[in-house]
């Protein structure tokens, strides 16, 4: 698929997330879910897992389910463990002849950054380490959006959230964000990828298909902007994603069997202001006198970008 990618081919695959769910207009999470599920080959069955979060409460609100495949939501912090149970059941039922010989199931679970970076981190780490044949997909919108935009360890520095509000003596979140993609890569699982929405979705579609059809645990970290939490016009999501990539705030890379591969290097790395400016959560950074904060943000982006280039150059 890598060399002869066709958006048309991908879009011809059946839609596996039905309309009528209750996600906000312009939500990035469901764009991500649709794209990931397009990675499944036609006819292959899947069981979808889901941590508690926006996606869960909006996509399976009794008796309305948006899922075309079997779906299980359990709780907030255990999407990894729950799907590891499902995958293990598949293994044993198959071995015991309780499932048809030709019946192929894939296992994909979705969690927001709250359910993945924070409260579900242990469960995710355990599932990855045990080697279950599953894909954990983090739809990273950089805060606890379901409960009303509280900071998470995925929230970027200086973001104005409801638990790190920008105020007279506060410039928003103090810490920079956790690099979960790298942390999962350090589990030495067969496949880890970081991606977001690009114009023709080549990067995401390819990584989803690779993750799903790689034997063993795989992890996808997808930046999925949230117009409510990030405070931008809903129609601008693709522009926000492009700026995240072009400023190297959200680099596109993958780690295949321990090998780090950079998937996209901007010709002209844009200044971080370009990513920050369209978002209301960073508005306070553009008040006179706060130039230094943007400088510090830039330094952190540069440092992490250099680290990534180094990792990718080694292998």
């Amino acid at each position: 698929m890598n060399n002869n990618y066709s958006l048309k081919t991908m879009m011809n695959r059946p839609e596996r997330l039905a309309p009528g769910h209750r996600m906000c207009a312009g939500c990035g999470a469901t764009i991500g879910v649709r794209a990931v599920l397009r990675g499944l080959h036609e006819g292959d069955r899947a069981v979808i897992g889901n941590a508690t979060g926006c996606l869960e409460v909006s996509s399976y609100m009794y008796p309305y389910t948006a899922w075309e495949d079997s779906y299980i939501h359990n709780a907030f912090e255990n999407a990894g463990a729950t799907l590891s149970g499902v995958e293990t059941a598949y293994k044993v039922l198959k071995r015991r002849g309780k499932l048809g010989e030709g019946e192929q199931f894939k296992f994909i679970t979705f969690g927001g950054d709250g359910g993945t970076y924070d409260i579900g981190f242990q469960s995710l780490s355990g599932a990855m380490e045990r080697g279950h044949d599953m894909v954990y997909v983090c739809y990273d919108n950089g805060a606890y959006m379901n409960t009303g935009i509280q900071r998470s360890s995925a929230t970027p520095m200086y973001a104005d959230t409801t638990t790190t509000p920008a105020g007279k003596v506060s410039a928003g979140k103090v810490q920079y964000r956790k690099d979960l993609s790298a942390i999962i890569a350090e589990h030495y699982v067969p496949y880890v990828a970081q991606t977001t929405f690009t114009r023709d979705f080549r990067d995401l579609h390819r990584k989803a298909e690779t993750a799903i059809y790689t034997e063993g645990p795989a992890f996808l970290n997808i930046m999925t902007p949230c117009p409510r939490g990030w405070r931008y016009e809903t129609s601008r999501i693709m522009e926000i994603c492009r700026l995240a990539v072009e400023t190297c705030y959200w680099p596109l890379f993958e780690v295949v069997e321990g090998k780090w591969i950079l998937n996209y290097q901007p010709k002209n790395k844009l200044p971080i202001e370009d990513f920050l400016r369209p978002q209301g959560r960073f508005k306070h950074l553009f008040k006179p006198g706060n130039e230094e904060l943007i400088g510090r943000f830039q330094e952190e982006v540069d440092k992490r970008w250099e680290d990534l280039l180094y990792r990718c150059s080694r292998t």
Binding site: S70, N74, N78, T82, A89, R96, S123
Partner: protein, 410 residues
């Protein structure tokens, strides 16, 4: 055997008796080997650790085909159990104390999603202070999670209860998870005689697990674990409560079927020398053995004492219990809790049993005793003291204390 029933013995038993000696943990592991379930996620915690260890050994030697998931916590153990059971696999786990406490959120989800997971609980006190010995605070802490709870006095009952757990949990009228409880160390580690059943008989009794709807049913997708608005949530909870009520008769039917196979009879509770008992000790678990031994001695002295050993705590057999107390003409009842509720008035059995009596208009005197916390010894002398006090209460010599500790230095 205390439980051998005359009616059962007249029936041709369907399993040959195998005599052995083993601990409670070994007995449960032995039953697991016979049942050969599909999936077992578990995390070690004293004193239940031996169960997953033994199961792992059975797997390592190819004796069973169970898939063991070595999860990184008890929360993940129950989470994975929910996933596996929802996927269509017969699933078990085992834990104790803090492990059960960590599972708490997931216990509620196993029950509300109506998944017949079976959990072997080896009762141990909850922290703090951290202590590895027996009391019932772990099981009692989970009493309102929607699980069926069955308590064992000894290794034999732990084994028998465990085998009965699957037909109860998986019955379409029930579809609820079951906790099979035994006392940590006292039962789990003490080696006693046991009468085992033949592998084939156990397999036949338990049967195949064939759920109608499950995640891995090809071409028949299901969605599990919804968000529900208030229009549906209360109705869902009532539906779950109905299943718990229905579980009562399924437990009795299963016990009857078990009796036909084994010759051993079980009910909601066991009545020991209760026919004309004026002074009754109501309790659960291994301490019942001590109470029975003490009652035998008291009877020799002409004191009409008896024991009511509660086996099924959830569903709570309130009416049947009250009727048993009414029937024997009990003058004073000791309700023994191996758990403190920290409510200022006693333990959970104290609350629920007195409520049952009041609603059945059985107005016998009651005293709620707290005993055996964190492995504190409980002896026949303690029982003698309790019965002395019950007699004084019944004779109007003393007012019944609302609750009282046994074996406490004061």
């Amino acid at each position: 055997m205390n439980h051998t029933d005359k009616n059962c013995k007249t029936i041709q038993m369907t399993s040959r008796e195998i005599r052995d000696r083993m601990s409670g943990n070994e007995a449960v592991a032995y039953a697991i080997r016979q049942i050969d379930p599909d999936v077992m996620p578990a995390f070690p915690i004293t004193p239940s650790t031996e169960i997953p260890q033994m199961v792992s050994t059975y797997i390592a030697n190819g004796e069973i085909g169970t898939e063991f998931i070595p999860v990184e916590s008890e929360h993940s153990a129950m989470s994975a159990a929910i996933g596996a059971e929802a996927a269509g696999a017969r699933t078990i786990t085992a834990t104790s104390s803090a492990g059960l406490a960590l599972m708490w959120e997931e216990l509620l989800l196993a029950a509300s999603n109506r998944l017949p997971v079976v959990l072997a609980l080896v009762n141990r006190t909850l922290s703090g202070p951290i202590n590895i010995n027996c009391d019932h605070s772990d099981g009692m802490g989970a009493r309102d999670t929607g699980w069926i709870q069955i308590y064992a006095e000894n290794n034999q009952e732990a084994y028998d209860n465990y085998i009965q757990a699957f037909p109860i949990a998986e019955d379409p009228r029930v579809h609820l998870p079951v906790m099979i409880c035994q006392d940590g160390f006292i039962t789990s580690h003490a080696v006693e005689n046991i009468s085992l059943l033949e592998d084939d008989a156990v397999k036949r009794f338990v049967g195949q697990y064939e759920p109608e709807e499950f995640l891995l049913n090809p071409g028949r997708p299901v969605s599990v674990g919804p968000y529900a608005v208030s229009d549906y949530s209360m109705e869902a909870k009532k539906g779950q409560e109905d299943a718990m009520e229905r579980a009562g008769s399924v437990i009795l039917e299963t016990a009857e079927r078990f009796c036909r196979m084994s010759g051993r009879k079980y009910g909601f509770f066991e009545e020991y020398r209760m026919e004309d008992a004026e002074y009754v000790l109501l309790l659960m678990g291994s301490a019942a053995g001590t109470a029975k031994a003490a009652v035998d001695q008291l009877r020799q002295q002409g004191i009409r004492a008896g024991v009511l050993k509660l086996r099924v705590f959830r569903p709570f057999p309130a009416a049947e219990l009250a009727e048993a107390i009414r029937r024997c003409g009990c003058r004073a009842l000791a309700i023994l809790d191996r758990c403190e509720s920290y409510n200022g008035v006693g333990g959970p059995l104290g609350s629920e049993v007195t409520q049952a009596l009041y609603r059945a208009k059985v107005y016998t005197e009651t005293v709620n005793y707290i005993y055996g916390l964190a492995g504190r010894d409980f002896t026949v002398e303690h029982v003698f003291g309790i019965v002395d006090e019950l007699r004084d209460v019944a004779d109007g010599k003393v007012l019944p204390p609302d609750h009282k500790y046994i074996g406490l230095r004061s």
